[in-house]
């Protein structure tokens, strides 16, 4: 048996007993803490801690020319930095595949739920629109960066206020009272699978030996707006049904953490 198989078998034993390495049940999250406005330089920002995992998200805005096919719509950009400060696993340099996936999963949740009313980001049709940019920075990686990043991004968006704009220049030092126009609040929950065991909010030890995961992003009305299956393992239709159910339940729990 290879080392990974042994580690997997050991994690599996704990899952079967429904007593994970840190004492949790399969379906329970670690303690979730959301803090707002952790960076005065950003238009909006938030810190999310899930157990020992910590991420920051910050929102900045800019003015750009809209795409010709959507002259009245502003745009969204999500970027994730897996900082080497947050884990020995990460190295300085251009974004890794893991970082790109993380950013894209968060992006998809916000974009596909039409969370931001992009029409309201229009300043002058065909000429000027707001671009909303979210940057996610990891501070400590102890597993479940996707759920933490998604929650932090949403919290930062909720807290964000546009800076003053006089038609020529943005005065980033002066914030208005205008929030980012939000229509939906998408929350991502990732359900993990090892053999027949499903669980949420993995520790690193668990994430390292998973067979597959499914990130389910849902809005408050119970609709699924984005999915991402990860890992080399397979999922059956029954798995997916159970995973989405669990994800929806858990998303309500996380939703309560937002003010």
């Amino acid at each position: 048996m290879s080392l990974k198989d042994e580690q997997r078998a050991h994690v599996l034993k704990a899952l079967h007993a429904d007593l994970r390495y840190d004492g949790r049940k399969k379906e329970s999250f670690r303690k979730v803490i959301v803090e707002y406005d952790i960076s005065k330089s950003a238009e909006g920002s938030a810190r999310v801690k899930i157990g020992d995992t910590e991420v920051l998200a910050g929102v900045k805005v800019a003015i750009e020319t809209p795409y010709p096919d959507t002259p009245e719509q502003g745009s969204l950009m999500v970027n994730a930095e897996l900082l080497p400060l947050s884990s020995a696993r990460f190295e300085p340099g251009p974004p890794s595949t893991e970082a790109v996936e993380l950013a894209r999963v968060v992006d998809r949740g916000i974009r596909e739920s039409a969370a931001i009313d992009t029409k309201k980001l229009c300043i002058a049709k065909g000429e000027k629109v707001w671009m909303v940019m979210i940057d996610i920075c990891t501070i400590n990686d102890a597993g479940n960066l996707i759920d933490a990043s998604s929650l932090a991004s949403l919290a930062a968006l909720k807290q964000a206020r546009f800076p003053e704009y006089d038609g020529k220049k943005i005065d980033f030092m002066t914030k208005t009272k205008n929030p980012i126009p939000l229509l939906k609040e998408p929350i991502a929950i990732t359900v993990f699978k090892i053999e027949d065991q499903l669980f949420v909010d993995p520790l690193r030890d668990e994430e390292d030996v998973m067979d597959a995961r499914l990130t389910v992003t849902t809005t408050a009305d119970g609709k699924i707006c984005a999915l991402q299956k990860g890992g080399n393992g397979i999922l059956t239709i029954e798995d997916i049904d159970a995973m989405t159910q669990l994800a929806m339940e858990k998303s309500e729990e996380l939703r309560e953490k937002l003010e």
């Binding site: 960076s39 005065k40 400060l85 940057d135 400590n140």
Partner: protein, 237 residues
């Protein structure tokens, strides 16, 4: 326009509000956050670990490697593009040199000790805040250090010598201009390990400015000391 009173009402030798905390990043060997006004620096230490590429290895001692980075949303204006730029590269280098004199890595030949400094929000004085945080993180990590390193920007705004310039002071417009002088030193001996200057200053003013930095440095040392001690005494049940 002459500079009579400081823009935010501080005394000339008064810093903005300082706070610090140690042991904030579990994965790291040592870590700290240092806040001065609206500037926040987080530092994490990893290592000693194997140094690649191999030609950088030093058989006599471990090597300190610092990496200074502003988070994309931490700038005063537009979003800062991620990735190293020339400014970050230089600051990383002077940070290494500011910390190295305090640190003894002789026990770790060929290895590297990595210090990552991140800034979630900035309002001038970022390299100094980064050095203060890094120094605490290295102490937290348990390395041999003969002293902590403290850092503060001093300078001249119009005809006043002041400590801890904020962004508004750095960009203050007056005939005489502004001189911004980031200084780092060994906290107890006052020996200087970082010195840069942006702007006109006379030799006499520089001497006075450095005395001011030394005085303020003592206060910063007290904050660092408290934070380091609190990590071990603060969690009493």
């Amino acid at each position: 326009m002459t500079y009579k009173k400081r823009l935010d009402g501080r005394a000339v030798d008064e810093t903005r509000k300082i706070s610090a905390k140690v042991g904030i990043i579990k994965n790291a060997q040592g870590s700290a956050v240092f806040q001065i006004g609206a500037t926040t620096a987080i530092a994490a230490v990893y290592g000693p670990r194997e140094l690649h590429p191999k030609f950088l290895q030093n058989p006599d001692t471990g090597v300190l490697r610092c990496n200074y980075n502003m988070m994309p949303f931490s700038g005063h204006g537009e979003r800062v593009r991620p990735g190293q730029n020339r400014r970050a590269k230089e600051i990383s280098m002077v940070t290494e040199q500011a910390l190295a004199p305090a640190l003894n890595l002789k026990n770790f030949p060929n290895a590297v000790v990595d210090v990552f400094i991140e800034l979630p929000q900035t309002d001038a004085g970022t390299r100094c805040a980064g050095i203060c945080a890094a120094s605490m993180a290295l102490a937290d990590a348990g390395f041999e250090m003969k002293d902590l390193v403290v850092a503060i920007a001093v300078g001249r705004v119009d005809d006043h010598l002041v400590a801890d310039l904020n962004y508004d002071e750095e960009s203050y417009e007056c005939d005489a201009g502004v001189a911004d002088i980031p200084v780092a030193m060994l906290a107890n001996s006052g020996e200087i390990t970082l010195l840069q200057d942006d702007g006109d200053i006379t030799a006499q003013q520089l001497k006075e400015a450095l005395q001011l930095a030394k005085k303020v440095g003592k206060k910063i040392y007290e904050v660092q000391k408290q934070a380091l001690k609190e990590k071990f005494t603060g969690e009493e049940k």
